[in-house]
Symmetry: C2
Subunit: 203 residues, 2 copies
């Protein structure tokens, strides 16, 4: 029996660096896959079906919601976005790890439906550093900066619902921690019940 992959959910406040960490981790683990979202927004030039998104009509999307086909979904302005359960489960069954980089609200919904995932929260070394990173990101509108910073601050409260917290001092260290977490999770006793049976079945 092929060992199932792990669903690894990465989130954290905007500016914490989760995107860069995931990209670097994936580069080192080409056997893993990034979860592909479904959306009702029209494809942009160069976007490929099944790679960037699964593009769905509004009717298709609503049907998927009714069929409980999403690990989570949300409406953003006028479009829907969601994580199709089937895609994730198929990859996991193939023994591949699936990375889901997602905002905190989304991650918590996934947790309710897929508790066996590994939930990692990325935080900046200090809130002051986060403020610097948000400012550096570009928008010059101080209201938006303040708003982002405020929600980052509130979001810290949700760490408690995650399994791990990684303080993103340097990308290199954070990627190593992510690798360690995934390797360790694969050694957890509750993920290896087959092993006990296998060892004992041999006699």
């Amino acid at each position: 029996m092929k060992k199932k992959g792990l669903l690894i959910v990465i989130s954290g406040p905007s500016g914490a660096g989760k995107g860069t960490i995931c990209k670097e981790w994936l580069k080192r683990h080409p056997e893993a896959v990034l979860s592909v979202s479904a959306t009702t927004r029209p494809p942009r030039p160069m976007e490929i079906e099944g790679v960037n998104y699964f593009f769905k009509s509004r009717e298709e999307f609503k049907k998927m919601i009714e069929n409980n086909d999403f690990l989570e979904y949300a409406k953003v302005y006028d479009n829907y976005y969601g994580t199709p359960r089937k895609y994730v489960q198929q990859k996991l069954l193939e023994g591949r790890d699936v990375i889901l980089e997602i905002d905190i609200q989304g991650a918590l919904k996934v947790k309710d439906r897929f508790d066996e995932g590994v939930f990692i929260f990325i935080v900046p070394p200090t809130m002051e550093e986060l403020r610097r990173r948000i400012v550096k990101r570009g928008t010059e509108n101080p209201d938006i900066i303040l708003q982002r910073f405020k929600s980052a601050f509130e979001e810290i409260n949700f760490i408690k619902r995650y399994n791990y917290v990684v303080v993103n001092d340097t990308i290199e260290e954070s990627v190593c921690k992510m690798e360690a977490i995934i390797l360790a999770e694969k050694c957890r006793v509750d993920r290896n019940t087959h092993l006990i049976m296998q060892l004992q079945g041999e006699i």
Copy 2:
């Protein structure tokens, strides 16, 4: 505030290779320490107090038992052996990780008293391989070999009470897994409550 170290408890059936793994891990992590046991057996030549053992008289040992000074203790033939709580706690407070290599009965006693430890069970890749290793270990007495093998088989049942299981295919891989487990444990949210307060207290 200095971050506390971790108590890492390593056990598994005799012949699984836990001693070699611990030795190699310690070589790579000189900042960590091996737990030193107390015993009533007399010191052998070259054994140093506080390094190999804490040598105690029978009266001293019994007093320590009464004072709840042991994480676990056992009587083996005519001598007592035990893990002094104070030594372990002192090293942990200094921020050093403490490795305790111990048999399964002892590990389970430690778990009852120190649940925040990290409990790792080392198993051979197959029971057939374990049999080979036990035979190779030397004693030619088939009764002892059979007895060891039988208890190894029964001990597999206790894996469920551990946090992690490491299949000892190669020492190198097992040491890497042990390193990953320890690094991951240090990222666990429930070991980082101070971090949340720290991030939020900054504002």
